[in-house]
């Protein structure tokens, strides 16, 4: 669905590249996470792929359209949800969606249906300018689905949303993906990436450091540990055992056999810990 080869971009059109030599592919039906700290070059790559920035160097094909000679028809196939809400504040929620639906050449989704989907039912006739930040974000998110895109670009889709709304948004993303929509997710939130993405790319200082599935990364970079909380001589103790080394496995078995276990859980590395380990950088 997306093919990027040797993509580089410099805002000043000089040798100081904001992104350099980017290569990756996104398969149809995949959720691909583009992860990195602020200023890493995530949005630059996304803006090039959506035609908001001109392709300077390299090659990129998006939804079978060559980005070098971008065709406006491509936008009938893709949807874009921006990190910063960008809706007409003087128009109502429904007027906003109705307006955008008329700018597409394909069948569009009913505005009320989309508003209901993102939890804005009853707010159809309220001006977007009167919305809270979270409501504007949901309206922006709803708008990106209006043309039923085959390829969906999501830039920080849950940023600034309260946990229950964020959970709803994640459910919508999963449902759309199950319906066959390919998703390009740009985020610095490793938890959402871990939960949603089939594969992730770590980008730092304009370069991709690694691409793999979250599971493989955890296997490759995480340590297999089990943390056990148990009672010994009327005292609560906590110990961590490796599930790889035989002596640890044996010790764990002894604890289970001889003591009352209060809690026990695996301690696999988080995506954030792996990111720091691989890139040597935090996500802030």
């Amino acid at each position: 669905m997306i093919k990027v080869k040797n993509l580089s971009h410099s805002y000043n059109k000089d040798e100081k590249y904001q992104v350099k030599n980017i290569n990756f592919e996104v398969k149809k039906g995949e959720i691909f996470g583009f992860l990195g700290p602020s200023g890493a070059g995530k949005s630059t790559v996304q803006n090039i792929l959506t035609g908001l920035l001109q392709l300077q160097e390299g090659e990129a094909v998006v939804a079978d359209y060559d980005i070098k000679n971008i065709s406006k028809e491509m936008f009938n196939k893709i949807g874009m949800s921006f990190e910063q809400s960008n809706v007409y504040s003087k128009l109502t929620a429904k007027e906003n969606l109705d307006f955008y639906s008329k700018l597409f050449d394909v069948k569009t989704v009913d505005s009320n249906e989309l508003l209901n989907l993102v939890g804005l039912e009853g707010k159809e006739n309220v001006k977007a300018g009167e919305f809270s930040k979270g409501m504007k974000h949901r309206l922006t998110f709803a708008r990106s689905m209006i043309n039923e895109p085959e390829l969906w670009f999501l830039d920080e889709p849950t940023t600034g949303l309260d946990p229950s709304i964020a959970a709803d948004i994640k459910e919508i993303i999963k449902t759309k993906n199950n319906d066959g929509v390919t998703i390009f997710l740009t985020t610095h939130n490793m938890f959402i990436a871990d939960e949603l993405c089939d594969r992730v790319a770590f980008i730092v200082d304009g370069e991709i450091k690694l691409i793999d599935s979250p599971e493989n990364l955890k296997l490759q970079y995480g340590e297999q540990l089990v943390e056990v909380e148990y009672i010994e001589n009327n005292e609560t103790k906590i110990k961590t055992f490796s599930t790889v080394f035989p002596e640890d496995k044996k010790a764990l078995q002894t604890v289970i056999d001889q003591h009352e276990i209060k809690t026990m859980h695996t301690k696999e590395a988080t995506l954030e810990e792996i990111f720091i380990k691989v890139t040597g950088r935090g996500l802030v």
Partner: protein, 333 residues
């Protein structure tokens, strides 16, 4: 493409009628028309008013009605009271076998002379048809002041059209919605055309309103539409450039006001300066637009003249476009 242009225009219209400043700009042409009508005399008005005694000399009343506004009164006292009113009116009152003129004393000399002359011509039994002079008209059928005001108002409205475009573009910038438009299948050309419709339509609607309110019904409408369309191009261009380069409405409106300078310069050059100074203003599109509109309002412009002036305005707008286009394109990214 036309459907999308219409959609973008309808969105702007919907927002503009909800916004006080935009709504004020939209109804401004009607206000102009009404104000010009109130503060300038009508096309066929005369400035000489005469007061006569009712039934004293019907033949005289009929004769003088051809050349002045006549009011009749039942007595000399009533005429005296009327003459003492605030406006200029001259009483013609019988005395013995002749008439005397009753004035307040502050009337202009020309008005008094005109009244004297009319009375003299009547007493000498001279009519307009008795003259040997041949009448040659120069084509002026409307008062020059009214025509100039209408002309300036039309050009002014074209600038308001640009201001409206700038306001709508500023709204796009403030709400950051240009990026959302850029990820739809709407081309930049379609977007620009859609955004321009409001400014151009305001100019056409405003011109039509002024012409209808003031009563220039006999002018060549096609010539007027042509010159208005090319004039509004300049305002559209400046409206776009100010819209994409300003982040708030006040600064955009302030920048648009700069357009009034070339407008006033063009008007003053034609109305006040002598021929030798005219070439200094040939760069000014409003100069040519004013010239062309003046001919149309006088009903004296030939198609060759109007096409020439429109062509010059078009070329000048083309030069402005060549200069501004890169900045507009960058602003829309």
């Amino acid at each position: 493409m036309l459907k999308k242009i219409w959609t973008i225009f309808k969105r702007d219209l919907k927002v503009n009628v909800k916004d006080f400043i935009s709504l004020y700009i939209l109804i401004m042409p009607i206000l102009f028309g009404v104000l010009i009508n109130i503060f300038t005399p009508g096309i066929n008005d005369t400035t000489v008013n005469l007061a006569l005694l009712e039934g004293e000399n019907k033949e005289q009343i009929t004769y003088l009605k051809q050349f002045a506004d006549i009011e009749v009164f039942e007595s000399e006292n009533e005429i005296r009271n009327r003459v003492e009113g605030r406006d200029s009116i001259i009483g013609i009152i019988p005395e013995d076998d002749a008439y005397y003129l009753l004035t307040q004393g502050n009337e202009s000399e020309a008005v008094i002379d005109y009244a004297k002359l009319l009375n003299g011509l009547y007493e000498s039994d001279i009519n307009a048809k008795d003259t040997n002079a041949e009448l040659i008209e120069l084509g002026q059928t409307v008062p020059p002041l009214k025509k100039s005001l209408v002309n300036v108002a039309i050009l002014f409205i074209s600038i308001l059209g640009g201001m409206l475009i700038a306001l709508n573009m500023v709204e796009e910038k403030v709400d950051n919605t240009l990026s959302a438009i850029n990820v739809t299948p709407t081309s930049r050309t379609t977007f620009i055309l859609g955004k321009s419709v409001m400014g151009v339509l305001l100019t056409i609607f405003g011109t039509a309103a002024i012409i209808l309110i003031i009563g220039f019904g006999g002018i060549n409408i096609l010539q007027m539409i042509l010159i208005i369309l090319v004039t509004s191009l300049l305002s559209v261009l400046v409206g776009f450039i100010q819209g994409v380069t300003n982040k708030d409405i006040i600064s955009a409106a302030g920048s648009i006001k700069m357009l009034f300078l070339p407008l006033i310069a063009g008007v003053l050059a034609i109305e006040i300066l002598t021929d030798k100074w005219q070439p200094f203003f040939y760069w000014d599109p409003f100069y040519w637009a004013y010239k062309g509109t003046d001919m149309i309002l006088s009903e004296s412009g030939t198609w060759t003249q109007i096409l020439s002036y429109s062509g010059i305005v078009l070329v000048l707008c083309g030069i402005v476009y060549a200069v501004l286009a890169p900045r507009i394109r960058k602003g829309l990214e």
